[in-house]
């Protein structure tokens, strides 16, 4: 791990932190529950670590841990995205008309 890479990780972290703040603070309260589910699903990105552990065959011990990790991370990812989709679909179903009328209200 070179110092160069560490510094460039620092840049990525700093930028991601700003961006995270900006993006998340713009999510309306209406969508806070889907937000929780969605970030949980995205946090399943640690799945990538478990994939390598499960496939690398370092030792039986680590393979077993890896497979359990793959299962739980996949539950998290698949379940998370699906339930978010279920929720958002409910919000979107009643979108077209209602939203227009609200915008109209604002303009008039």
């Amino acid at each position: 791990m070179s110092v160069e890479m560490l510094i460039s990780s620092l840049y990525v972290f700093a930028l991601a932190a700003f961006l995270g703040y900006q993006i998340i603070s713009r999510v309306p309260p209406l969508l806070h529950t889907p937000l929780m589910a969605a970030t949980n699903a995205i946090s399943g990105i640690s799945l990538v670590g478990s994939l390598v552990t499960a496939g690398a065959q370092h030792s039986t011990f680590s393979t077993i841990l890896g497979v359990i990790a793959v299962i739980s991370a996949t539950i998290n990812v698949v379940g998370g995205f699906m339930i978010t989709e279920r929720m958002l679909k409910m919000f979107q179903d009643k979108l077209p008309e209602k939203n227009d009328s609200k915008e109209k209200e604002k303009r008039s």
Partner: protein, 456 residues
């Protein structure tokens, strides 16, 4: 070498898609598309990872992916919207389990663990194991497998602090002597214990705050792993996650006017003994009277709370609103930011019941309309409409912004009996002369009301 760059590029794409995905959540219109992008990002990341040169066998990976997808999708399709908080707790537990196991496996390989990598790894398993324990307790409390009120014992806080100090001490020692395997597992165990003991004394309704915090730490831990492995997608996803949890927990604390310390260590909810009873009586009203009041009102504001979720009454409440609207009554929903057991919980429930979100109003919007409201209908909400929060500076919930139903001309409260809200305190609203109590399960009462309104 080639495959390495492909993986890197897959991760760049995944990061960008995650960001687009969360950006989509700034509006219900763009949210679904956004989430599709994020899911695609995850797919790209997974497919990219499969090219990793260390992977020699795909059998177990495929088994794991299939089993996980199966369980995950069944859970996602079966879970009722009313038990979303529980699901969230479980999902947090699964995520933490995965992170902890990978951390342990990584540690058990044992090759050249530098101080830096050991630090990141340590964070990962510490937070991971703490979070597993914490979120299982959270699940149990929300699902009412455990008592929802704080579970405390004497000297708890001091014991917890000591436990915490010991765990951290071991962690610091391990950074310099990573080869001490036994201590490593002791640390994992202590962190687990700490997770249990930390969450037990917290009340059920405060679980979302705890869960958000744990989520946020989990995100930061995975960012730390990203630093150690030089994996930028981990840094980005972890940081986004960390901020999301952090911001949500802050928002919840603000919406309750309580400090984070009070939430985590205050053993809040249900335990205040030295409370004076309120003098006066609760005026009980009948379904017919309420139906007539509602049917001839100009504007009705509906205030849903935790009781709506437990009674699964969201569909019935929409029917009532439709029956009223059919008669020309203006119906608005007032959503308190911490009504229910999860931020945004009420919004999802009402969306499920096909309530258009343009009729959902936030706290400030609706409070300015309260004086012009003929009837407020409080359905299974309690603390979020407790006027003591505004009027009585000594109340445990003093300063929490409330929906000021007491300013509307008439208030109807639907609840099962004389139960208290999460905070465990009396609600003077129920004793006001213009408040009528309609006892019974929210769903049953609402169904009766719908019939009565249709006949009025």
């Amino acid at each position: 070498m080639e495959s390495k760059y492909l993986i890197e590029i897959a991760y760049v794409i995944a990061s960008i898609l995650f960001i687009f995905g969360l950006k989509g959540l700034s509006h219900p219109k763009s949210a679904r598309n956004g989430m599709n992008l994020a899911a695609m990002g995850m797919l790209v990341a997974v497919v990219g990872t499969l090219l990793h040169h260390e992977i020699v066998s795909y059998t177990w990976i495929i088994v794991g992916l299939l089993v996980g997808s199966l369980i995950g999708s069944v859970m996602a399709l079966k879970v009722s919207m009313n038990s979303l908080p529980q699901r969230q707790a479980l999902s947090l537990a699964f995520g933490a389990l995965a992170a902890t196991l990978v951390g342990i496996a990584e540690y058990s390989r044992g090759d050249q663990l530098g101080a830096f990598k050991m630090t990141a790894l340590g964070f990962e398993v510490l937070f991971g194991s703490l979070t597993i324990a914490g979120s299982v307790i959270a699940y149990a409390k929300l699902q009412e497998l455990l008592r929802g009120t704080p579970i405390t014992f004497k000297g708890q806080n001091i014991f917890n602090i000591a436990l915490f100090a010991v765990t951290i001490g071991i962690f610091i020692y391990l950074i310099f002597a990573p080869e001490n395997t036994i201590l490593f597992y002791v640390m994992v165990g202590l962190a687990f214990l700490f997770g249990l003991l930390m969450v037990l004394p917290i009340g059920a309704a405060d679980m979302p705050v705890v869960m958000s915090l744990m989520n946020s730490y989990a995100g930061l831990a995975s960012a730390a792993t990203g630093f150690a492995l030089n994996n930028n997608v981990l840094i980005i996803a972890g940081t986004l996650d960390g901020f999301s949890g952090f911001i949500l927990s802050i928002l919840m604390c603000k919406a309750m006017n309580r400090s984070m310390t009070n939430v985590l260590f205050g053993a809040f909810g249900g335990a205040s003994e030295e409370q004076q009873a309120i003098e006066g009586v609760q005026r009980e009203v009948g379904v017919e009277d309420v139906a007539v009041q509602l049917a001839y009102a100009r504007q009705v504001v509906i205030v849903p709370g935790y009781g709506l979720a437990t009674a699964q009454a969201q569909h019935t409440v929409r029917e009532l609103a439709e029956a009223l609207e059919h008669r020309g009554v203006i119906v608005k929903y007032a959503i308190h930011p911490v009504a229910g057991r999860m931020p945004g919980h009420m919004n999802v429930l009402l969306a499920e019941a096909n309530v258009p979100y343009s009729s959902l109003y936030e706290l400030e919007q609706i409070n300015s309309e309260m004086a012009a409201t003929d009837v407020s209908v409080v359905i299974g909400a309690n603390d979020v409409v407790n006027p003591d929060a505004r009027d009585n500076p000594k109340s445990p919930i003093a300063g929490m912004p409330i929906i000021e139903v007491d300013k509307s001309k008439q208030v109807i409260v639907l609840k099962r009996g004389k139960g208290k809200g999460f905070s465990g305190i009396e609600n003077p609203l129920f004793f006001k002369p213009n408040t009528g109590m309609l006892y019974g399960d929210a769903k049953a009462s609402l169904a009766k009301l719908v019939q009565a309104v249709q006949q009025a």
